[in-house]
Amino acid sequence: MATIAMTLSRVHFGGKSELGVSSLFSPSTIAHRCRRQASNKIHAVMTPTQSQRPLSTTGSVKHGMTMTEKILSRASERSQLEPDENVWVNIDVLMTHDVCGPGTFGIFKKEFGENAKVWDREKIVIIPDHYIFTNDERANRNVDILRDFCMEQNIKYFYDIKDLGNFKANPDYKGVCHIALAQEGHCRPGEVLVGTDSHTCNAGAFGQFATGIGNTDAGFVLGTGKLLLKVPPTLRFILDGEMPDYLLAKDLILQIIGEISVSGATYKSMEFIGSTVESLSMEERMTLCNMVVEAGGKNGVVPADQTTFNYLKDKTSVDFEPVYSDGNARFLQDYKFDVSKLEPLVAKPHSPDNRALARECKDVKIDRVYIGSCTGGKTEDFLAAAKVFLASGKKVKVPTFLVPATQKVWMDVYSLPVPGSGGKTCSQIFEEAGCDTPASPNCGACLGGPRDTYARMNEPMVCVSTTNRNFPGRMGHKEGQIYLASPYTAAASAISGYVTDPREFLR
């Protein structure tokens, strides 16, 4: 039903010159209305404790709201919100990690007092993940600070690591926060999640509002459970068409960032809909939402559907209520893409919007490949890389570093059979291809980190990476050159030693 409706109103747009910007405030959200009919999980967002009868209940001045507006409306106990309004929002989950946690706790203690208690010990999730497997004393100290605070405050969700020599000896340790949040059931439709990390927007894949904040704001949330947020207007991205088997969500988001630039969504929400998005797995939806901050976006959202609910099964016992954009919701702009016409992409140095076709860069000789991070270090990312290695039957020509995002991903790499391989695991395929042994799960060299970080670029090299940023110095050396790419493209490039379109091997 949704697919048919979308076909009727679909306009095909492919490359840059064909960017589709349809009318402002487009009323055509047929797909949404269909989903609303299909799902009985929709609830009114208005608070029952309003003393005055809100105008919106009379039906006479009811404005449609986007998903993001509705989530913030419910969280601020308001019946109606407009973009650009500033509202106090109740926070469902606050996440922090070893890089920003200590500073956040410092502010919390300074402002609320040495003996202050956090607002809700069950709504705070603390995930050491950035600088873990390092001898840097200050980095190690910061993890100790997290532990001390969690003990003192009796924080319910603290994914600790004590034995740095063997991550598997730490049953609580997860790894990269954004993926751990998803895997541990902390991402739920309709909720508000804030975290002291810009890629907190990753969780928008679950149809929730999720955004990155600084230490001071996080310190405020720790004490009060509230945050003043400005309601962002929404840009809508309608991705239709069958996804070719050589593309991944990374290509889609690189296409979008290339289109709107690294500041094209500044202060705005990015909502992803369309038949392609509906067909994406949760991990692929995460890749899409993870990089909205690279376009300057405040948050990204994908409407929750059966794929979302299936993923959440057995992960959380918390009740959640998804919300969806109204049929008459107002969007600042619509961008339409025919995904079937897209090609594998890279973002060239030194900006995530420096888009190029992978095949246009085939003469770029590379020194290494990195597969990891919250953006490109999930189970499906490694399965995708393994698929290319398997299809090629060749060995890598450059050092290829693999850093699973979490302990769960690491286990999957070592246990899940790769389709079509006769039962081989990713780890076996990587070994046969000559890759480095998959490393201990953490943020790794995505953001450089301390000098002794595994796979950090300490020399001015050229790297194809499945990570999220390629500004100067991002992975270590200021003169290093980073080509951001999908796991397919990264694996294909590892095999040839040049930036390579994965169709070279996947056909």
């Binding site: 500033n86 500073g103 502010i107 007092g113 405020f220 009060t224 003043l228 500044t266 940023r469 500004f471």
Partner: protein, 259 residues
């Protein structure tokens, strides 16, 4: 107790600022208390720094309303440091230094010595903070579009503020950087009315930022530029950040110990 008091006050308060509204469409709401400094007053040192930004090791929220209104900061003056578009947080403070915790006074100061150390030296031969110096000679940074893009690290505005910078004048900001600048009160994130201003300025040009008049004067080139009014974010930064501001305005209890 502190928590309860803050929660109630916060819940009852109506939104009081627009930290994420950078395109200021309003006039600054402190319109009366400005004491414009003479632009001929040439000092390469940060002006009145100690009166607006408490040192991290001092009790930060001791500012009383009366003393702060009488010392309203309206101008910054000195040589500027000029950078281009899309200066991301890794260039402002590279991730390897994020082990430094901004709320620890000695590490706060160390962050200051590392401000903008991630800029490629081929493009920026002059360092923002000289080696072995505790602070910068440049109280004002002039930049292109999307300054502070990238990570949510509050270390970025903190490093600039700890280095002794007072204001960034850019065409636009990444959202989280702007918000963190206001929330910490470390630095004024000011926006230009025009595009390409940074191309007309050179590192070392002596400039004046006039907050009340919303303008930037480049004394070296003799040119003057309009800035967008800082709007409601101004008083928050002037107070020394969001916590200081809400205490000053009585929105939350005046000090942690009394709450």
């Amino acid at each position: 107790m502190a928590m309860v008091a803050a929660t109630t006050a916060a819940a009852a308060a109506k939104p009081f600022l627009s930290p994420v509204r950078s395109q200021s469409s309003y006039l600054p709401f402190l319109s009366l208390s400005y004491t414009l400094k003479s632009s001929s007053h040439c000092s390469t040192f940060p002006i009145l720094r100690s009166s607006i930004r408490p040192q991290p090791n001092s009790k930060p929220f001791a500012i009383s309303a009366s003393s702060s209104t009488s010392t309203s900061i309206t101008t910054f003056h000195g040589p500027c440091f000029v950078v281009g578009d899309n200066i991301d947080t890794d260039q402002i403070i590279p991730a390897e230094h994020l082990t430094l915790v901004p709320s620890k006074p000695d590490e706060y100061r160390k962050l200051g010595t590392l401000a903008l150390i991630g800029l490629p030296s081929s493009l920026y031969p002059t360092p923002f903070v000289p080696p072995d110096s505790p602070s910068t000679h440049y109280p004002i940074i002039i930049a292109g579009a999307n300054f502070g893009c990238g990570s949510s690290r509050e270390h970025a505005p903190v490093a600039l503020g700890a280095a002794g910078a007072h204001a960034v004048v850019a065409e636009s900001y990444a959202r989280i950087f702007f918000r963190n600048s206001v929330a910490t009160g470390e630095i004024y994130p000011l926006e230009t009315e025009t595009v390409g201003l940074y191309r007309e300025c050179t590192t070392g040009d002596v400039v004046t930022v006039d907050l009340a008049g919303s303008r930037l004067i480049n004394h070296t080139t003799g040119k003057e530029y309009k800035l967008k009014p800082i709007g409601d974010a101004g008083p928050v930064i002037e107070a020394g950040g969001i916590f200081a501001y809400v205490r000053k305005t009585g929105m939350i209890a005046s000090s942690p110990s009394s709450a």
